[in-house]
Symmetry: none
Subunit: 193 residues, 4 copies
């Protein structure tokens, strides 16, 4: 019975992955600590070396994903482009992230619609999205975008996107390049003046 003393971070990441996978497959209710640990090839007690408790694991997993998403969004963020292009870039970045990480996206949706979401320090999460919000403010000032609350704008840009990219909600819908451009067009029509 060899005792591996590998570096921690591998285990922590394995736990994130296991959490995402299991919560998507069987939901929060059935994703027990022991199942998650087994999926991550770790002893249940080892989980408590990295997280305070189950709640902490779930919330940390969410914050981890949200941060990744923010990075994806800002990766090709170019302030000098026309506003429509900035938003279009962001929209596609998010779509790509969600398409390439459907499990992470599904976890995010399930989490943010559950009471667990109230445990997240929202300031920390939202901070990452500020630059993108600023663009919308600028768009409003330049009379390019409708003068409504930022959260209403965001609801029209990102919410349909999440739904369309979510195979659980839109199993039958196969997105392709053309439909994608149509969808962004609709999002833009919704918010443009």
């Amino acid at each position: 019975m060899p005792i591996m003393r590998t570096k921690d971070e591998n285990k922590k990441e394995a736990l994130f992955r296991a959490t995402i996978k299991l919560v998507n497959e069987i939901g929060f209710a059935s994703s027990s600590v022991s199942k998650i640990a087994k999926e991550a090839n770790v002893s249940p007690s080892t989980l408590y070396v990295f997280f305070d408790n189950k709640e902490d694991l779930l919330v940390s997993t969410y914050v981890e994903i949200k941060t990744q998403l923010a990075h994806a969004l800002l990766e090709n963020f170019d302030d000098t482009l026309p506003i429509r292009d900035i938003i279009r870039n962001g929209w596609y970045s998010v779509f790509n992230y969600v398409s390439e990480h459907p499990d992470e996206a599904a976890y995010m949706e399930q989490f943010s619609n559950s009471p667990y979401s109230e445990l997240v320090d929202k300031a920390v999460v939202e901070r990452e999205f500020v630059p993108f919000g600023n663009v919308m403010v600028k768009g409003i000032e330049q009379k390019i975008i409708k003068d409504v609350d930022i959260s209403i704008l965001a609801a029209f840009i990102f919410n349909p996107l999440f739904r369309l990219a979510n195979p659980r909600l839109c199993a039958e819908l196969e997105m392709n390049e053309e439909k994608l451009e149509q969808a962004f067009g609709m999002a833009w029509d919704a918010i443009k003046l």
Copy 2:
């Protein structure tokens, strides 16, 4: 003609209400059968008189809400109006339902983003929304609405709406008559040709 409910139906309804309340407050994971039964002032074993098991209770609760929502949507459905007005009426009906039944709406969101949603017989649920779908088809034929998949259209009409009406997701946002009309305008801009 007042409907005389038998004792049973009162209990069944009490169980629906208890389920909705508890799942919203503490989530699926913590909403145990015994807690739900206690909240409904019923013995846990009585629950099994009305439902096969916990899963059946959760799914039935969802279907019940979805059906109520469909009724609300179709209540003032008038085929003879212009297409924009039909959709506007539907949009407002849904918004009103969600505003007046925030718990039901939150349950719906939480349920439909969870793996439980795969247990629902979708045909049954979607049947109720067919008339509304037909209106959109007609709108496409009449070149009033963009020619894209119905589910994409629905995503732009209803998804932002649910988010805006959901206090968990938009706690800080106070919707009023003006913002509401703006929001519908945006939804319409998104789908109209």
Copy 3:
């Protein structure tokens, strides 16, 4: 697999007995709920039908014993006898109880010296011993007993007794009729004026 639906009280008593036995044999620290349940031939979950939690079980067991002891003490309590005889009767009653129920006595000692003892509603327990306390008050008034706090008197009457009757503390000591009378004589010498 026959399902016995015997009357509850049997199980509750079996749990009391199992608790006393195990706590004496292996101590509070090792007396787990599952071990106690197994000793009582009951499922661990059944234990929670009768007691709120482990603490409640331990405290209830103590109160049960204390109540039995009080009954033993008062059984042949005769107010009309001379004060020395009343106290002597009580002293022998307690000694007999402790000799015949060494496990209960040992549990009592272990419990009352542990932090669990702070969870007991002392008013309830002490109420039962009031008549005996009154005799001592009368003895003080009649100048038969030293005028000191009742708890000091009680410490001299009952504490040595418990120690002498406790096989854990006095394993080597075999009490017989003569030593017993000597011991009571010492207790009486301590408190008499």
Copy 4:
């Protein structure tokens, strides 16, 4: 000549203190090795440098206290005094020790009433109290003290004392110089011929 303690001995003592404190506050059952180590500002694994296991720690702590108590008892032991005075000195020495070290005393009581006590090498512990026992033997020979087993004598001298000095058992009782002298008087009355 100040005693230079090596680093180790400080840690060992810190572990003794932590054990006593925690066992008094939360009992044996809840005093885990890790809690004790944390209280002593030491790693749990360090504990195993000084003690074989948890049991060894608990027993060693008891023996340590018992030895301190014996030292206190013998500190002003003067063989040349009259027997009553020797015993009185011892009685007061013990009372003082218990008053000044209530935690140690409470630990001792809790320990000696638990099954752990069976793990102690009694010969080692009792050896320290031999001189005091000899005094009682001499008292018996000189017809000053009742001719009964030493352990019965000890039970009347020390048991009430421990109870009276134990705040857990006698919370309400405030001992003062007068009550103290009364209490010793009673102990003496119990054993004197």
